[in-house]
Amino acid sequence: MIDVFIDVILLAFLAITAVSIVRMTNLFAIIMLFGIFSFLSAAMFVVMDAVDVAFTEAAVGAGISTVLMLATIALTRDHHEKASVSHRPWLPLTVVIVTGAALVYGTLDIPGFGDPEAPAQMHVAPYYIERSVAETGVPNVVTAVLASYRGFDTLGEVIVVFTAGIAVMLLIGGRRRKSNAGSNEGDENDK
């Protein structure tokens, strides 16, 4: 009963934080709320027994993402979102409600939360859990699957991270050229 209680409290806080992110206009406050959102979701992952995922989400979401967003608003010197003057929110709201309703209709068939007989737990997971220590000698099943059983996916992921680093280096790695707005040549000095 107590874990249902903790679940409900954490999810309620997540929903409140997300709604306040939509409603606020001060960009600095929004970024701080996003850091809080990331931490709350990391806590949610710990409650759901996903410790590796919680570790990564806390480090990456509440750490690196927040720092980069703060650096962006420091560079763009834009601290307030412009209040919408001529926005009609009805069309986006309708799209969002229709999509949400379709998704909720889709979840009516999902087996209940935590069901040990669900089809998702039946086929591949027992194979990994039973044979991970015998075949790889590594007790952490997530690391064994990540590095050994599904090593190609991790290779692709490392290459994606490397590519993002190169792309950011190309875009904003050099010194900024003083040029007029709208006539930026796009080439930079290399350091």
């Binding site: 990564t56 909720v104 997971a125 859990i129």
Partner: protein, 118 residues
């Protein structure tokens, strides 16, 4: 009542997904759109990890005396997804910085105005 307790995780994840989606399509500020995208991504992770928990199970680290473990496969997929997500966010923010230097603003309607008047 059992049905609601078994499914509210998914419904809150869908609510968060829709909140992020609404932020992306209805707000004009580029940084806020990227934050909305991140909210969307985190809620998708919540959905997947909710599908992988087992009631009474432990974290998938093999220890003596523990019989029931959570499903380790979605954890692996979501680990990859988190790192790819931060790479995408960093690239999007770098593009926002360059857009600000080129157009002088990061509000979407002002950027459209400048593009149409050229």
């Amino acid at each position: 009542m059992d049905f609601i307790i078994g499914h509210y995780n998914y419904w809150i994840a869908i609510f968060l997904m829709m909140t992020g989606f609404y932020t992306v399509i209805s707000r004009g500020n580029l940084v806020k759109k990227i934050i909305g995208l991140n909210i969307f991504q985190v809620s998708v992770f919540l959905l997947y990890i909710s599908m992988s928990t087992v009631k009474g199970g432990a974290a998938p680290i093999i220890t003596e005396g523990v019989k029931l473990y959570s499903n380790p496969l979605p954890h692996v997929l979501i680990l990859t997804a988190i790192v790819v997500g931060v790479a995408t966010t960093a690239l999007g923010l770098a593009l926002v910085v360059r857009i600000k230097e080129a157009y002088g603003t990061i509000e979407e309607d002002e950027i459209h105005q400048q593009d149409h008047s050229l």
